[in-house]
């Protein structure tokens, strides 16, 4: 290590991976992965989400959820920005994922065309 700057550069390079293990509030993407969700292609959606996040270097939590009772609209994906309502998107294709991530996760605008529900979660 030649200098403190060099250490800090290395740190910023390796840091992103560890942020997953902190408790700070971050945007969350929740993918419906019930049996019918998987049948309707939720895994493809999950992969598309991961690809976008990686490509754009976003700090986002990705989790799954089970059946939420809207099987006919599968595949489903929810976006929950810190302090905002949770928005559910349905009937998705991998291309929609790109749009949702850019518009909603990065720019903070709900993609109304694709949104099918909103939940007030009291800012959580």
């Amino acid at each position: 290590m030649k200098s403190l700057e060099e250490l800090r550069e290395l740190r910023s390079k390796v840091q992103k991976d560890l942020e997953m293990r902190s408790n700070s509030e971050r945007p969350k993407i929740i993918i419906g992965m019930g049996t019918c969700g998987i049948a309707a292609g939720a895994r493809k959606i999950l992969k598309a989400v991961m690809k976008e996040i990686d490509k754009r270097g976003l700090d986002v939590i990705v989790t799954q959820t089970g059946c939420i009772g809207m099987c006919e609209k599968e595949p489903l994906l929810d976006v929950k920005m810190p302090g905002k309502d949770r928005v559910t998107y349905g009937n998705l294709t991998p291309a929609d994922v790109k749009m949702i991530i850019v518009e909603h996760v990065i720019n903070g605008n709900v993609v109304e065309d694709l949104a099918i529900a909103r939940f007030d979660e009291g800012g959580n």
């Binding site: 290590m1 290395l10 740190r11 390796v14 560890l18 992965m33 991961m50």
Partner: protein, 600 residues
């Protein structure tokens, strides 16, 4: 690799506790399951050090949710993969359940065991991969070393540590900054720094866990200390019985060398530092600093009189600073966050936190880090989850063979170096053995004295002969041969050994005896005068068991298990125990379905 980030991290504890309960096997099965479901690229497996909750191992934490699965079996892994990783459903039956409320808790920060803890030294333990220097750096590692070396003078580093109020965690509680100052000011160019990872106290595993779970933190603390005192070479003295700690430390040293964090001209400065590991054979006395240095020099590990202190004449006659593992583990935090942040935790004269190894008759045994000044009640009942067996709390033995007992009268005493010393107990390195009514205090004293007696190096007479005499007396008392005047003799011998022994081993060896006499003199008297062991531990002295006629339903279970056929009776009528035959083993009382048997 088509993807460099993962959607989930699965942390599997591979501390010594969890490995022995099978975590390596769990990991292998998990790898297979993930591969089978094509999830290997989405989910990352990380091996970590101890989370402290070894009792409930093997332990797995799933991020980003922070879900805490425990007591896993190989069969459980497929269910976790299919339910949790694939469908996002937490597997409830594998979550931790609070012993009292029986509530299952998904997120580990919410478990009572963790709630009252404050993790500074152990902050990385169980959170990062101890074998990855990148993970350590990602969580801010080596920043403090860089800052100290490039932005602070050695005097400023020492001042910061002095201001923090950090005291040695190896037992004595000597102010760390002051010790560094002595070594810095000692005459001579060649100086050494030593990390004491001997950890000889029975029941202690704090230092092992830190070395296994976050070896880089200890290395970083040593680099900073070396810079402060002007040392260019250091040793970590670890006992050979800690193979995992040694392997991880070795790996960590190699990684640090590779990145130029150990070796020549660190951070482009003219400060250079080399670090070596020295394996100890595992004799208790080798934890004593002068004996430890003799051992590194290749001689027999025997203490020598002080002064001269190691700060002036240490390893190979050169000025040497020696600190405990946990002491070094605190240093990076102090440099990064400042003395004030550190001293805001804890009490006025004992700042920061202390790591304790909780063992004995307690529900949640394990490794805990708590702010100094916390009460024993909080440790035993909130973090420790209360006593197993539902028996009443009797005492906590702290400080191992150098320590003493804290009784129920002091449950609300804020724990720090000075308060413990005042009541004749001792912080020691952090072993805490919780004892219930079923523990015989004379027996406890005998256990520790037996330990020190056999670990005595034999160099000085008070320790070699004195502890032997004390042990003989204790053995006699426990066998029912105690005589009037034995207690006084123990007290006299004890005080004498304390005053005249050469090293800390002998000087503290009588403590468990003196402390138990102080608080449980009546138990000694019962052994000596009434020839009874009130707790029913000392074989041959314990009161015989009796059956309560009213309660007995005559099932005959007791008679079946009694190893000496002391129990007789007819089915459906009350059974009896012949007190002359009964050896007080208690086997019958454990079997009785209606609790009709107790000690008379």
């Amino acid at each position: 690799m088509d993807q460099s980030i993962y959607r989930s991290h699965v942390l599997i504890c591979t501390g010594t506790g969890c490995v022995s309960s099978g975590s390596k096997k769990i990991k292998t099965v998990l790898e297979d399951e993930l591969a089978e479901h094509d999830l290997s690229k989405e989910i990352k497996i990380v091996e970590t050090g101890c989370h402290g909750f070894c009792e409930k191992g093997p332990i797995m934490i799933v991020y980003p949710e922070g879900v805490f699965y425990c007591q896993l079996k190989e069969e459980d892994v497929a269910e976790i993969v299919e339910e949790h990783f694939l469908k996002g459903r937490i597997v409830d039956r594998l979550l931790f359940k609070e012993p009292i409320s029986e509530e299952s808790i998904p997120a580990y920060q919410d478990i009572e065991f963790y709630k009252k803890q404050r993790r500074i030294v152990l902050s990385n333990c169980g959170r990062i991969d101890p074998e990855s220097i990148e993970e350590y750096i990602a969580s801010g590692g080596y920043e403090a070393a860089g800052k100290a070396i490039t932005e602070m003078t050695p005097e400023e580093v020492i001042q910061e540590v002095k201001d923090s109020g950090l005291r040695g965690r190896g037992g004595g509680g000597f102010p760390t900054g002051l010790k560094w100052d002595f070594t810095r000011k000692a005459a001579g160019d060649k100086k050494y720094i030593i990390c004491n990872a001997d950890e000889g106290d029975p029941g202690a595993f704090m230092d092992r866990s830190l070395l296994e779970g976050d070896p880089h933190a200890v290395i970083e603390g040593m680099i900073i200390a070396a810079y402060a005192i002007g040392a260019d070479e250091g040793y970590v003295y670890v006992r050979a019985e800690y193979p995992l700690a040694i392997t991880r430390l070795q790996k960590a040293i190699e990684q640090a060398e590779e990145l130029g964090l150990l070796g020549d001209n660190l951070f482009g400065s003219d400060f250079s530092f080399d670090l070596h590991i020295k394996k100890g054979a595992g004799a208790f006395v080798c934890g004593e600093e002068t004996a430890l240095m003799a051992s590194i020099e290749g001689k027999r590990g025997m203490p020598r009189p002080k002064p001269p202190f190691p700060a002036n004449k240490g390893l190979w006659g050169k000025p040497t600073n020696i600190n405990n593992v946990e002491t070094f583990g605190n240093v990076p935090y102090i440099i990064n966050e400042g003395a004030e942040a550190f001293s805001s935790v804890g009490t006025e004269n004992s700042s920061g936190t202390k790591v304790f190894a909780l063992t004995g008759k307690i529900n949640n045994t394990g490794l805990v880090e708590v702010p100094m000044g916390i009460t024993l009640r909080e440790i035993v009942f909130d973090i420790g989850g209360g006593l197993t067996s539902g028996k009443k709390f009797k005492a906590v033995q702290t400080g191992g063979p150098s320590g003493g007992c804290i009784t129920s009268d002091y449950l609300d005493l804020p724990i720090d170096y000075d308060s413990l010393k005042e009541i004749g107990a001792m912080m020691g390195s952090g072993g805490m053995v919780v004892m219930d009514e079923g523990t015989c205090m004379v027996d406890v004293a005998k256990f520790f004295l037996d330990f020190t007696q056999s670990e005595s190096c034999g160099k000085c007479t008070p320790c070699r002969e004195g502890t032997k005499r004390m042990l003989e007396i204790l053995n006699r008392i426990c066998e029912g041969e105690g005589k009037e005047g034995d207690i006084e003799l123990l007290l006299e011998l004890g005080e004498h050994i304390k005053d005249t022994a050469l090293c800390g081993l002998g000087q503290t060896a009588p403590n468990p005896v003196l402390s138990t006499i102080k608080y449980f003199r009546n138990e000694y008297e019962a052994h000596i005068k009434d020839k009874k062991c009130p707790a029913g531990v000392c074989q041959g002295l314990a009161a015989a068991y009796v059956i309560d006629e009213e309660t007995c339903v005559g099932c005959g279970m007791c008679a079946k298990v009694c190893p000496v056929d002391a129990i007789s009776g007819k089915p459906k009528e009350s059974y009896q125990i012949d007190g002359d035959i009964c050896i007080s083993c208690g086997a019958c009382a454990q079997k009785c379905p209606v609790d009709a048997i107790s000690q008379g």
